[in-house]
């Protein structure tokens, strides 16, 4: 198979049709598809590598906290670079839980966050129902009012709220932790957006069948809103769990402390205490992280289905 020199395939792979041999073509195909495969693999690997680096960077504080919480105090206090404990121990956790009533704190936070979540779901869905299915005077004005509350920063009200509750004498109770957070403008907005996607005929046909409003809400509406409720629950629970300023102001006794305040009791730069402190922090972060990871899909779907706007 003699090939004249001037008919050799050019290196960049651009062949002229009719001026090639079968072998040249096959060889070119092999070479180019291998190159394309290689390029794709490299692209993916680079992407993955970049992601690994960035993810490590973002997760670093958490990973470091876990690592320190598993170290002994003496191991921490060296000049060497030690990121990973050489002999991981759960000793810090045991001591942290013993030194500070963490169990009580966690129970408190669970109770408070749970009640807040339930309360918000109730008040927000009722309000959203009224805003989307019913017609009444001043509906738009009232809704604008609700939305306006999102613009008011916490600082504008926190002092007065403190004074109010202290005058009511309910400081240092579960009630004072739960009450102010029993509703949220964002929740109302979320539920309303969701309800607006239902056809009005859903409500009208129920009314024609003689179904009262409350029954409609409980029997028909709520079961259909599962995903919005799921999303809101995750978001509200995590935020309630992470509350810091309000519990700091209104609770003082050990029994009533929530987790975030509670672990700050471990705040100490003393050698032994740092590992203890990290153990406490990790213990408190874990529930919120678990709820987040589990409810992540729900949360994202609920918050961003059509709610993203400019």
């Amino acid at each position: 198979m003699d090939m004249p020199v001037n008919q050799k395939a050019p290196l960049n792979g651009v062949l002229r049709r009719g001026q090639y041999t079968e072998e040249q073509l096959a060889a070119l195909h092999r070479r180019m598809s291998a190159a394309a495969l290689r390029r794709r693999r490299i692209k993916t690997s680079v992407l993955v590598a970049l992601n690994v680096v960035v993810a490590l960077f973002i997760l670093f504080p958490l990973l470091y906290a876990v690592s320190v919480s598993l170290m002994t105090g003496s191991e921490l206090f060296t000049m060497d670079m030690n990121l990973i404990p050489s002999a991981p121990t759960l000793e810090n956790y045991l001591r942290a839980w013993a030194q500070v009533p963490l169990l009580r704190f966690i129970l408190n936070s669970f109770l408070v966050a749970g009640c807040i979540t339930l309360g918000q779901i109730l008040t927000c869905s009722l309000a959203a129902f009224a805003f989307s299915f019913l017609n009444f005077k001043g509906k738009n004005v009232l809704f604008m009012l609700v939305m306006a509350t999102m613009m008011v920063p916490g600082e504008a009200t926190i002092i007065s709220n403190y004074l109010t509750v202290s005058q009511l004498g309910i400081l240092d109770t579960y009630l004072v932790l739960i009450l102010p957070s029993l509703t949220s403008a964002m929740g109302i907005f979320l539920f309303r957006q969701f309800y607006m996607t239902f056809p009005i005929s859903l409500y009208e046909s129920a009314k024609l069948d003689g179904c009262g409003n409350l029954r409609f809400i409980v029997r028909i509406l709520l079961p259909l809103t599962k995903s919005a409720i799921g999303a809101m629950s995750v978001y509200t629970f995590i935020n309630a769990w992470n509350m810091y300023m309000w519990p700091l102001l209104v609770t003082g006794s050990q029994e009533m402390r929530t987790v975030q305040i509670g672990i700050s009791m471990l705040d100490n730069t003393d050698a032994q205490s740092i590992t203890l402190m990290m153990a406490g922090v990790v213990s408190v972060i874990i529930p919120s992280m678990i709820i987040f990871v589990v409810g992540q899909k729900q949360l994202i779907r609920g918050m961003f289905s059509g709610a993203v706007k400019g």
Binding site: L47, V48, N51, V54, A55, I58, P61, L62, Y64, A65, L76, F77, T78, M81, T123, L126, A127, F129, A130, L134, F136, K139, L142, M151, V152, P153, G154, E155, A156, T157, I158, I159, S160, N161, L163, S166, P180, L182, N213, I238, N242, M245, L249, Q260, S264, L266, D267, T269, I274, M278, V281, I285, S288, I291, F292, V293, I300, V308, K309, G310
Partner: protein, 289 residues
């Protein structure tokens, strides 16, 4: 009987609004006005308004160096936080825009900071930034006492806050990226645009509505940062991290000057309102399609 029924029907919609407006009324509307009211008084230790001083609290603030320091510090803080967290959120969202093996795990990781409490995160950062045994100094070989150095304390608190906010920004930007129609990228490929050109001429403009929304949310949130300051620096060293929120807290609960604290709250509220209005005006002029 019918009249009663009719009355009931007219009134019943409002009944569904009672629970939420009760809470709003008691813990949002009332205290909002009460704050304004308090700001016009000097108070006793229990917070009862005692002496009417009109706008004196405000004039005192506006002539106090400490207050201007707070405002300056807060503005610098907000700029660093918003810039940093949005950049980080954008970067992570872009990294997760095309699928690859394991993308689910990475998405979870990037969004995770939103589940972390500011106080817990602050305690972790305290250890990381510890001058002697903190891993940061060990890694970089520097020997700076970060949190106790008035030059760097604010940056530390800002970085911490940026990290905390990057999670929610990742979610916003991911949603924004997902809203961009795939086919315009295909068309751009056929038109001959490079990856870089596609990013700057298609992706970023496509994100502009969500960028604006995220900016507003981030700014409002940055102004309300408290836990980190309380745990890391308590407003110091030397007032270099005395953000307005912390200053309000200190004035009210350590100095018992509720009136002055209330006045600061009002000023802070006005600043945020002004910023938001300016941004809406700018948005109206810009993004329009």
């Amino acid at each position: 009987m019918n009249q009663l029924r009719q009355r009931l029907a007219e009134v019943s919609p409002y009944c569904y609004l009672i629970p939420c407006f009760a809470v709003f009324g008691m813990f949002l509307f009332y205290p909002f006005f009460k704050t304004i009211y308090l700001s016009l008084f000097l108070t006793d230790k229990l917070g009862k308004a005692k002496i009417f001083v009109g706008l004196k609290n405000y004039s005192d603030l506006l002539t106090s160096e400490s207050f201007y320091n707070s405002i300056l510090v807060t503005l610098i803080f907000v700029v660093i936080v918003v810039f940093g967290s949005m950049l980080l959120g954008l970067a992570t969202a872009v990294l997760c825009s095309k699928t690859f093996p394991g993308i689910r795990a990475f998405s979870t990781a990037y969004a995770l900071p939103m589940a972390i409490a500011s106080s817990g995160a602050a305690m972790i950062f305290k250890v990381i930034l510890n001058p002697t045994i903190g891993v940061f100094n060990k890694l970089t070989g520097l020997d700076i006492n970060w949190i106790s150095d008035p030059r760097y304390a604010l940056i530390c608190v800002a970085v911490l806050t940026a990290w905390l906010n990057s999670g929610i920004n990742f979610l916003y930007f991911s949603a924004g990226l997902g809203n961009i129609d795939e086919s315009i990228y295909e068309r751009a490929s056929v038109d001959g645009a490079s990856g870089v050109q596609k990013f700057f001429r298609l992706t970023l403009p496509g994100l502009s509505p969500i960028i604006f929304y995220t900016l507003v949310v981030n700014i409002i949130q940055a102004f309300q940062s408290f836990g980190q300051v309380k745990i890391l620096t308590q407003g110091g060293p030397g007032e270099s991290t005395n953000l307005i929120v912390y200053s309000i807290y200190r004035d009210a609960f350590f100095n018992y000057k509720f009136g002055s604290a209330a006045a600061q709250s009002v000023i802070l509220f006005l600043i945020i309102m002004a910023l938001t209005l300016v941004m809406f005006k700018v948005e109206k002029k810009g993004v329009k399609y």
